[in-house]
């Protein structure tokens, strides 16, 4: 039982949180609401609760083999991208936070500039490039392509958290005889769990919602949910119900991811024994 003062809560925090919860969940509720009604019902009448539960939209999705294949494909390249992006970013972020070297400040800022163009600009060149090296329609292609915007983000966020770890910890570890890889994995990373957790989640999220590149670089084998998400306008008009149902279903993997990294994000640390 600790007397030690942790961050004392803000007055009114519960009210703010509750209001924000309502604000955040209202459109989500509406999306679920829409997924359980027919298109005619959605576009004609208002109802607080669906007048009758119609699972037709979900049925349409589940009976479409392209859908669950797409689901798996999406999860595959997003997971691959997250691992690659974070893996590549960790040593770079360490270098930026601990050392100074030729061109480091310019390089750091240049990384961010890769996020300053809409992915649409990369469309044609990527298409040509991946066709040339035979990676078209693979999960790897999309995972690599998404690294363009995820790696700079990962490096920037991780560097910020690494700067917050006192350099004395590195030095103490070396004096105690740790090799660099061991020190990095056993001492350093645990001290910035929050940074790694939030970075992994953001890489996952940005890759998951990127539809343009994902759709362009794949055709059959690695076709992601992007195809289904954008294929909802038919001759009969916009297929609201299916789109809403698809939207609800795309929430699930991300919700699981953040649930699994919650300990990384939420656990702080007391400067424990080093």
């Amino acid at each position: 039982m600790s007397h030690g003062m942790s961050a004392r809560p803000l007055p009114g925090r519960t009210l703010l949180l509750v209001l924000y919860f309502v604000f955040t969940l209202a459109p989500i509720y509406w999306m679920v609401h829409m997924s359980l009604r027919t298109n005619e019902a959605i576009t004609s009448t208002f109802a607080w609760l669906p007048e009758s539960l119609s699972f037709a939209s979900y049925a349409r999705i589940f009976t479409d083999p392209a859908w669950y294949d797409g689901y798996i494909n999406s999860i595959a390249y997003v997971a691959l991208n997250t691992v690659l992006s974070v893996g590549v970013a960790l040593p770079a972020a360490y270098a930026f936070s601990r050392y100074s070297f030729l061109g480091d400040r310019h390089l750091f800022f240049w990384l961010l500039t890769n996020r300053m163009t809409p992915p649409a600009v990369f469309l044609l060149p990527f298409f040509q490039l991946y066709t040339a090296i035979g990676l078209m329609d693979t999960h790897l292609a999309v995972a690599l392509a998404h690294m363009v915007f995820n790696v700079p983000l990962a490096v920037w966020i991780l560097e910020g958290f690494m700067r917050g770890v006192p350099r004395e910890i590195d030095e103490t570890a070396y004096i105690d005889g740790y090799s660099f890889p061991r020190f990095f994995v056993r001492i350093f990373l645990p001290l910035m769990k929050a940074g790694v957790g939030v970075t992994a989640f953001f890489c996952f999220m940005f890759s998951w919602v990127e539809l343009l590149l994902a759709r362009t670089l794949t055709s059959v084998n690695a076709k992601p949910i992007a195809a289904t998400m954008t294929r909802t306008v038919s001759a009969a008009g916009m297929d609201w119900g299916t789109l809403a149902a698809a939207g609800v279903l795309t929430l699930l993997p991300g919700a699981l991811v953040i649930y699994f990294v919650r300990h990384y994000i939420a656990k702080g640390f007391a400067m424990g024994r080093v």
Binding site: P9, L10, A26, P152, V155, L243, A255, K267
Partner: protein, 292 residues
């Protein structure tokens, strides 16, 4: 006896993977775009070098100026709302237990919805006749119609963005706060610090790096925003909500003119680059935090 980062050129090895994975995919398309921007493409294999022609035309374009002003206003409003709100939320979020897990999952949801679905849902959500928000507002007697009143359209697009992206700021700030060791709070307690002093002298400085990322990210992404407002309002009514990205796409796709579109792309990129550069250096100068 200041601490300065030791110089170590071998650190380049640590940075190499990042360089390789990002460099070639950024340089090549950029070269392509630069190439297009200085040519008048008349046909599949016919093009004439026109130098700075397109750039001049782009910079003289009045509609572009309009779109730029609208864009700047939008991005400014976005930053002014989302940043303080996100930080306030981060301070309010529970730190452990099932409450923390629930909060994290709920906060993650708006971020996980594909952007076209965001626009689509809000399209219905904000309609006065069949949407939850619109219906509620009209029931309260407010005259609200986002497809006809520019002010309503603006507000709706803005609120939609706040709904979509504030969580990002909140999650970043939350992680930043969690990374502050308990020992700081213990020491501050012994020093008799007030809640405000703890925020000002411990939390805020430690949040600086995270805050800078949040500012740059939100500025960039809001400046490039395309899908959500396009799906929601189509840029309307009229050109009320036509921001820069949409204007660019209209020009490129609608007019099939790659030259001016390429030039526009580069100008667009340079504006963002300049703004971010200024913001970045400004934030580094102000205050200290852990910047070396």
């Amino acid at each position: 006896m200041s601490i300065v980062k030791p110089v170590n050129q071998r650190a380049w090895w640590l940075v190499l993977p990042v360089l390789v994975s990002v460099a070639f995919s950024a340089v090549i398309p950029l070269m392509t775009v630069v190439n297009y921007s200085v040519q008048d493409i008349l046909g599949p294999n016919q093009s004439v070098f026109v130098g700075m022609e397109w750039y001049k035309e782009v910079l003289r374009d009045h509609e572009l100026h309009g779109a730029l002003v609208r864009q700047l206003t939008f991005s400014g409003a976005v930053l002014l709302i989302e940043l303080p709100l996100g930080v306030a939320l981060a301070l309010a979020m529970p730190t452990s237990g099932w409450r923390a897990s629930l909060t994290l999952v709920v906060f993650a949801m708006p971020l996980l919805v594909p952007w076209n679905v965001v626009g689509t849902i809000w399209q219905i959500f904000a309609r006065g006749d069949i949407g939850l928000l619109g219906y509620a507002l009209t029931q309260l007697g407010i005259d609200y119609n986002y497809s006809q009143h520019p002010a309503d359209a603006w507000l709706t697009v803005l609120i939609m963005d706040v709904w979509h992206w504030t969580s990002l700021v909140a999650l970043l700030a939350y992680a930043g706060l969690r990374a502050i060791p308990h020992t700081y709070y213990q020491a501050a307690g012994i020093d008799g610090a007030s809640r405000w002093a703890v925020f000002r002298y411990i939390q805020l400085p430690k949040l600086r790096s995270v805050f800078m990322i949040a500012v740059l990210l939100r500025f960039m992404d809001s400046f490039m925003i395309y899908t959500e407002p396009f799906v929601l309002t189509g840029g309307g009514p009229g050109t009320a909500t036509t921001f820069l990205s949409q204007y660019l796409t209209q020009k490129a796709v609608g007019q099939f003119d790659l030259g001016p579109a390429a030039a526009f792309s580069l100008v667009y990129f340079l504006i963002i680059l300049l703004a971010c550069f200024v913001l970045y250096n400004f934030m580094k100068e102000v205050g200290t935090g852990d910047v070396q």
